[in-house]
């Protein structure tokens, strides 16, 4: 990974100094060994701070929104899964291709610091990964953990190491984590519950929400100029508590609005400070779309129309969908 990071710095500096791009979206070292943050670099010198390791989970595609608005040609480092987001933004006309310089960036899975800490590790000073083993150095000593145990949830459903869009690639592709079984297993588990328990599950899950809107902000499918929840004239009430539309409706409507646009990057669930299992709602829509209308992956290209803007004459009737899994 250090090698890749060096290549990335070099590439960023090259692009900036040659004037090929006006800015570079990447990651900057945080205060700790595991809190790298997204960052935009505008000069070759600043690129010294550019880092890349297993703690760069953030999907940078949404930075391209501002880049397009400002008409700044932007180089963006994209892990394979992030490339889907860029395509979706291109499809939704939220990002103009001419302002994007997409750099495919290899990834072998991002780590979840919460899962590492759950092993009782404190005082972490350095974390490295090699051959499926995570070496955690702490002030108290070093411990090895199996990589699979501490991957981010979203990486357990990795879509593979192919870039859906890339103007250039950094280094060689790495082996990405093998996806863990059926991507929809969690959805199926809930579907199998009796309706009362499903209702209880969601009520409990969604009432954790504090309406911080982090899910909305990170989402490459949530790119509206003005969110419907921020529009008093829209057919939903506002985002605050002023009207009786609250958490559950918000998440139901948000999931509905991104259905067919959601690329399944899992960022919404990752950034949720309350740990709401938001990805499940999106996965449910993906599963339904696949079942009802045939396989569809948002963001695999920038042109295929979403399932909600197309139809076939033999489509399934709503009643069939409502009855499925009813007890």
């Amino acid at each position: 990974m250090q090698k890749i990071a060096a290549l990335m710095r070099q590439k960023a500096q090259e692009l900036l100094s040659s004037g090929q791009v006006q800015q570079v979206a990447a990651w900057r070292k945080g205060q700790l060994a595991y809190d790298n943050a997204p960052a935009v670099f505008t000069s070759p010198e600043a690129c010294a701070d550019l880092v890349y390791d297993e703690f760069c989970p953030a999907n940078l595609s949404k930075y391209l929104l501002a880049a397009t608005k400002k008409k700044l040609k932007t180089a963006v480092f994209l892990k394979p899964c992030d490339t889907y987001g860029v395509n979706q933004l291109l499809k939704d006309n939220r990002v103009q291709r001419e302002y994007v310089y997409a750099i495919g960036t290899p990834c072998q899975g991002m780590l979840d610091i919460k899962k590492i800490r759950a092993h009782g590790l404190k005082g972490i000073t350095r974390i490295t990964v090699s051959e499926g083993v995570v070496q955690v150095e702490t002030v108290y000593g070093t411990q090895n953990l199996p990589q699979r145990d501490v991957l981010l949830d979203k990486c357990l459903q990795c879509k593979g190491n192919a870039y859906m869009i890339a103007d250039t690639e950094i280094g060689e592709k790495l082996a990405t984590p093998e996806p863990r079984g059926d991507a929809f297993a969690a959805v199926k588990r809930i579907e199998a519950l009796p309706p009362e328990e499903r209702f209880k599950f969601w009520q409990q899950e969604l009432s954790k929400c504090i309406r911080c809107n982090a899910c909305r902000d990170i989402c490459p499918a949530c790119s509206c100029e003005q969110c419907i929840f921020d529009n008093p004239a829209a057919p939903v009430a506002g985002k605050a508590f002023a009207d009786p539309v609250e958490e559950n409706m918000f998440h139901l409507i948000r999931a509905y609005h991104v259905a067919g646009r959601c690329v399944g990057c899992g960022e919404c669930a990752r950034v949720c400070p309350q740990g709401v299992k938001l990805g499940l709602l999106n996965l449910k829509f993906m599963k339904d779309i696949n079942t009802f209308y045939g396989p569809y992956q948002a963001g695999s290209d920038a042109t295929t129309p979403a399932p909600q803007v197309t139809f076939t004459q033999g489509d399934v009737e709503p009643s069939a969908a409502g009855q499925k899994g009813r007890s």
């Binding site: 608005k69 006309n93 129309p305």
Partner: protein, 662 residues
């Protein structure tokens, strides 16, 4: 502050019997912004409209709610009424307290409560209404008639005579339709061809009429005043311009085994054929499925014998795109297939025939040159039994529930024809009822009974079997004498139910015209708008709208033509102002709206907009063409940001109704 006037109609006793209109008035008066409320016997009458005018002036009303019959009935009336007194017609809302309230509820308290709620919903909506102004769209001064039977021919002739261009699309190789297959017509017994052929000639030669025969409508887009229609002109394999109609090719064709569609399978034809002797245009067509040249590559005789050298085996289907201001559907009828009616023996014996087949058997140009003979033996029958209501008025689910309307009269006609020409043949008609409402109709039927001694037996035929002597045994009941009958017959004629022509539903879908459960086109109003489809610009003529005889078909075709002419006489049409519009400052330009628009009314434009931060920026936004938009609202829901809204049915208006009802 808004001043809303609420006007509650009694509709005579229609509303007032079940809805306490005074209580409705009292209830709505307590609602803020309702400045005036009153009830009246007939709000749509002159007196009612005067009441509205006066209230508007006396109370300076600026919005109107009328609680009355369905908006589909009188919305236009009350909009006009408002306009006359200076209120924008789109500041009027109708609460449907008749069709959807007083007529469906018997309990007065319940009906009154519902009427009040419906009034409240309408009041809630009208608060958010905005004045709207209709736009204009141009009218293409050309009409399309789909179907070249008597209905289509008549409609086209009337439109053409009024001075407008009109095209007829007929899927058969020639115009004429079902009427061309008939021998004589009731109640005057004049020869069908004698009265139809001159009309066919007129249509074919009229400078304003263009015929597309052997053609089908492939796609329809656009809307009233400007439909775009794609017509597939199937390859005839004959150059129609050069062909003289000499018919040598049809005589020399060695492939003779194909059953003739026009002769209903009672005769065969060549692979190159002219469907019937008076066919117009008199240009043959090659049935490629049965042509040796097309199937085996060998033959080519027609090409060799053609003196005009007009056979063209390479001819391709041609797609013609044309624009029309109005369309007449005149697609006619087929007979109900009899496969579910095994008891009549139609499949078992060639001597059991449909009434339409009988028409061919008695026609001088038909397969027997007009000699009535049994198809099985070629001999003249001694006794003929006619069975009414075969598949009509059927409640068993095998046939049609409706009365086919024309059968009673043609039964009498055919019976009389046999008795007149062959007095030695015994003719019996089995009937459920004899229905003869029409000018000189009952007299005609009585003549069959009284002068021509046709036996009429009220009763149903249960079974028709082939008997040992090669004839038919008919088991029936005589209801009046309560007897079971077993009769011998040499020929049985089945008065078979009519049904809309195959493909009518496909056409209706293209035209977005509605159909009933039997696939007859629905009229805009069963009594008051019987020749118009609810879809603007689509008119109906003939059997495609419901069973009817020739005079009715011709009248309806004439009426449809007048409606078409009335439309084409206008240079411009007022367009529906209830169309979509995009709030550009919040439009993200994702163009989901564009993808669901059936009219291509939404396009992407790069525009300078002031964004939410108050900054000018250039970006892609969706723009609605207000003339092309028909106001379905598909785009409004596709838009996740609610930047797209529909005038007249805005998010706020609909939500106000939702809130008022919940």
């Amino acid at each position: 502050m808004q001043k809303i006037g609420v006007f509650v109609c009694w509709c005579g006793s229609n509303i007032a019997t079940t809805v306490d209109v005074a209580q409705v008035v009292a209830a709505v008066k307590t609602i803020p912004n309702v400045a005036f409320a009153a009830d009246y016997k007939y709000m749509c009458s002159e007196g009612g409209q005067e009441l509205i005018h006066k209230a508007v002036q006396d109370y300076q009303l600026d919005r109107i709610v009328v609680c009355s019959c369905s908006p589909r009935m009188h919305e236009a009336t009350f909009r006009n009424c408002a306009e006359q007194v200076g209120i924008n017609p789109y500041l009027v809302e109708i609460a449907n307290i008749r069709e959807q309230c007083s007529w469906i509820i018997k309990d007065r308290a319940q009906a009154t409560a519902k009427a009040i709620q419906l009034a409240k919903a309408a009041i809630a909506k009208v608060r958010f209404n905005t004045p709207l102004t209709p736009g204009e769209s141009k009218v293409v001064k050309r009409a399309l008639v789909i179907g070249g039977g008597i209905a289509g021919i008549q409609a086209a002739l009337d439109i053409a005579e009024a001075g407008y261009k009109v095209d007829i699309v007929e899927r058969q190789p020639a115009i004429g339709g079902r009427m061309a297959q008939l021998d004589k017509t009731f109640p005057t017994l004049d020869c069908s061809a004698c009265i139809l052929t001159p009309k066919m000639m007129d249509a074919a030669n009229h400078p304003n009429i263009k015929l597309y025969t052997y053609s089908e409508v492939e796609a329809v887009s656009g809307f009233v005043g400007n439909f775009e229609v794609k017509i597939r002109q199937k390859a005839r394999s004959v150059d129609a311009k050069r062909c003289t109609g000499c018919g040598i090719c049809t005589e020399k064709c060695p492939s003779r085994k194909t059953s003739s569609e026009f002769e209903l399978g009672l005769k065969t034809r060549g692979a190159i054929y002219i469907p019937f002797s008076q066919a117009l245009p008199k240009v043959p067509v090659i049935d490629r499925e049965h042509c040796l040249k097309f199937q085996t590559g060998k033959c080519g005789i027609c090409s060799k014998v053609c003196p005009a050298e007009c056979i063209d085996y390479t001819q391709q289907d041609e797609i013609i795109t044309e624009h029309y201001g109005a369309i007449v559907a005149a697609t006619g009828f087929d007979l109900l297939p009899l496969d579910k009616f095994g008891e009549y023996g139609y499949q078992d014996s060639p001597d059991v025939i449909t009434s339409l087949e009988f028409e061919r058997l008695t026609n001088a140009t038909g397969p027997t040159e007009g000699h009535l003979v049994c198809p099985s033996t070629g001999k003249e029958p001694k006794s003929v039994i006619i069975v009414s209501c075969v598949g009509s008025r059927d409640t068993s689910g095998r046939g049609k529930t409706y009365c086919s309307k024309i059968c009673c009269m043609y039964n009498a006609k055919q019976a009389m024809y046999i008795r007149e020409k062959y007095p030695q043949i015994d003719v019996t008609v089995f009937y459920i009822d004899v229905r003869t409402p029409g000018k000189a109709f009952d007299e005609f039927y009585r003549r069959a009974v009284e002068e021509f001694n046709v036996h009429y037996i009220k009763g149903q035929v249960g079974k028709v079997l082939k008997d040992a002597r090669g004839g038919l045994t008919v088991f029936a009941s005589d209801l009046l004498s309560d007897k079971h009958l077993m009769l011998h017959a040499d020929m049985v004629i089945l008065a078979t139910a009519v049904k809309p022509a195959a493909g009518a539903r496909k056409l209706a879908t293209m035209l977005t015209a509605s159909m009933d459960n039997d696939d007859f086109f629905t009229e805009a109003h069963p009594k008051l708008r019987p020749v118009e489809s609810p879809t603007a610009g689509i008119f109906l003529a003939g059997m495609c709208q419901g069973p009817k005889d020739i005079p009715e078909t011709v009248s309806q075709a004439g009426a449809a033509a007048v409606k078409v002419v009335g439309l084409l006489a206008k240079d411009k049409l007022r367009t529906n102002p209830c169309v979509a519009h995009c709030q550009e400052n919040i439009c993200s330009g994702c163009l989901a709206c564009e993808k669901v628009c059936p009219y291509g009314a939404i396009t992407a434009e790069t525009k300078t907009v002031i964004n939410l931060a108050g900054v000018k920026e250039q970006r892609t936004v969706a723009v609605v063409n207000q003339t092309l938009c028909q106001g379905c609202g598909a785009c409004t829901v596709a838009c996740p940001a609610a930047a797209m809204d529909l005038k007249g049915f805005s998010n706020q208006e609909i939500l106000a109704e939702v809130d008022a009802l919940c």
